[in-house]
Amino acid sequence: MSHLAAEGLVVTAGERRLLDGVSLRLEPGALVGLIGPNGAGKTTLLRCLAGLARPDAGTVALDGTALATLPVSERGRRIGYLPQSFQLAWDYTVREVVALGASRASGAGARIPAVLRAHDLTALADRPWSGVSGGERARTLLAATLVAEPAVLLADEPGASLDIGRRLDLMRRLRAYAREHVAVVVLHDIEQAVRDCDRLVLMDGGRVILDGPAPALAGSPEIDRIFGVRFARTPIDSEADALLAVSSP
């Protein structure tokens, strides 16, 4: 099984340091949640891990091989990157988008029907992009990314446009994928991150502030400090899917 390691990543934009010496080792078996306030450097880190942004210093290595030396096609096959959203220039159908995702790995084409089924997309497969909802687009994108079975999955706020049911379903899929692959997900919903991720990485100002198992990290007062918010920590009913806070009468 593959692993991904970042060492001393620095990314600057003018005077500002978007990433300021980030090191991280990512292994299969745990869904990693990347959390932090706006501007903490989460997306920049994710793009460096995906090989889409080049750090000014430091390296990212997939199984010991620096991403910068990996052929782009091989990187695309082994690392799946799921952006928050993307704009299509042409009105591809759902099936065509998934097929484009499959085109990066030989043999992935045969998996298209199964992947469409697994993501509840079979009925929509021949609908044009302009005719599907935001949630359906997010599922299509996930299917297009996973159809090549990348060793690493990096997802940037993949549930942002989904209703709660779909979002929980998506998190379940990511968690299942994380069992045998490296999987990192940027999340703004702290509650969801604490509940659905196995490991949390808390970032602020381009640095990793905390990195550890989700339950332990959830108790840290650092989270309250960094977000500038006082969180109530409530044990919840393990039968429940989500938490709904109501004020007491």
Binding site: S73, E74, R75, P83, F86, L88, W90, V97, S103, R104
Partner: protein, 326 residues
């Protein structure tokens, strides 16, 4: 695929129309006689004079359609046209030199060779300018294209003023810029056909990359496309395809814009269908427009570019309207 099959009879009809159209329309009887190998003057004119011109028109149209599809794919913009990156201005300079300077070689060779070199050279210049200024993305390329086109336009005007000593020669240059298919020799036609086949063969492998670019730069990269390198390669191929069309047909407006649209409407946006269909549709359009150019105001011939522009202009406006509405 189904649409491709439907195009074949359309192409055949366009070919027959092209051979028949002229200031003296050839009726079915005359066509049948000519195709049957009759040896009278009319039949020989149709076969040896008009047929090569119709075939050349088809190949020029195919290259324009193909070039348009490549450029629209690279710039992910349905309003992009094949002359976008300076090829029109460059070709016009080459043609101006060929038409106004005695070069000591056959004029058709000089005109074709220099306009090809001008068109391709101008696009190379645009690529170099964009890279040199560190803006190799689509927007940077477009801006570099605008700047280079303006400079080339100035150079061409200067050349025209400096080199022409009579109004006649200026008219020759002007009529070239309006586009037009000359009857080629069979050797010239064979050369064009060979080059067009090579251009098509070089273009078809671009299909997957163009499809991926349609997902956006980032997603194309995430799916393993070396986007910058691919864009450069696609532009070089596209520019060569367009330069070939320009060398044999001058500046024929709008075909490169229209053909890819019709292809996408009929077969969807995947480029493995859009590229060959755009070529076929471009061929049909130019064959028909070239026939109209010969037949509409006999005995005079209307410049081909005027016909394609007169038909393409309204189409372009409708397109713009639909796009703005959506």
């Amino acid at each position: 695929m189904r649409f491709a099959l439907r195009l074949a009879p359309l192409l055949a009809i366009a070919l027959v129309f092209g051979i028949a159209a002229g200031h003296d329309w050839a009726g079915p009887a005359a066509l049948a006689r000519a195709l049957g190998g009759a040896d009278d003057l009319r039949s020989r004119l149709l076969l040896e004079w008009r047929l090569p011109r119709v075939l050349a028109a088809g190949l020029v149209g195919a290259m324009l359609g193909l070039g348009g599809a490549i450029f629209q794919g690279v710039f992910r913009n349905p309003l992009a046209e094949p002359y976008l990156l300076g090829s029109a201005g460059g070709a016009a300079i080459g043609a101006t030199l060929a038409l106004l300077v005695p070069l000591g070689m056959p004029s058709a060779l000089a005109l074709g060779g220099l306009s090809f070199a001008g068109a391709w050279g101008a696009t190379l210049l645009v690529l170099a300018v964009a890279r040199g200024s560190g803006a190799a993305d689509a927007a940077g390329l477009l801006l570099a294209g605008v700047a280079v086109a303006a400079m080339l336009g100035a150079v061409r005007s200067l050349l025209m003023l400096a080199l022409s000593d009579e109004t006649v020669s200026l008219q020759v240059v002007l009529s070239w810029t309006l586009g037009g298919i000359q009857t080629p020799t069979w050797t010239g036609l064979a050369l064009l056909a060979g080059l067009a086949a090579a251009a098509l063969a070089a273009s078809l492998p671009l299909a997957r990359g163009l499809d991926l670019l349609g997902l956006g730069d980032d997603q194309a990269r995430a799916f393993g496309l070396d986007a910058d390198r691919f864009v450069r390669r696609a532009i070089l191929v596209g520019a060569a395809v367009v330069a070939l069309a320009v060398a044999y047909g001058g500046l024929v407006a709008f075909v490169g814009l229209i053909a890819p649209h019709v292809a996408r409407w009929s077969s969807g946006p995947r480029h493995r269908a859009v590229l060959p269909l755009s070529a076929a549709i471009g061929a049909i359009l130019v064959i028909v427009c070239d026939g109209l150019a010969r037949a509409m105001l006999p005995p005079a011939e209307i410049p081909l570019g005027l016909i394609t522009a007169a038909a393409g202009g309204p189409f372009f406006l409708v397109l713009l309207r639909r796009r703005l509405r959506s």
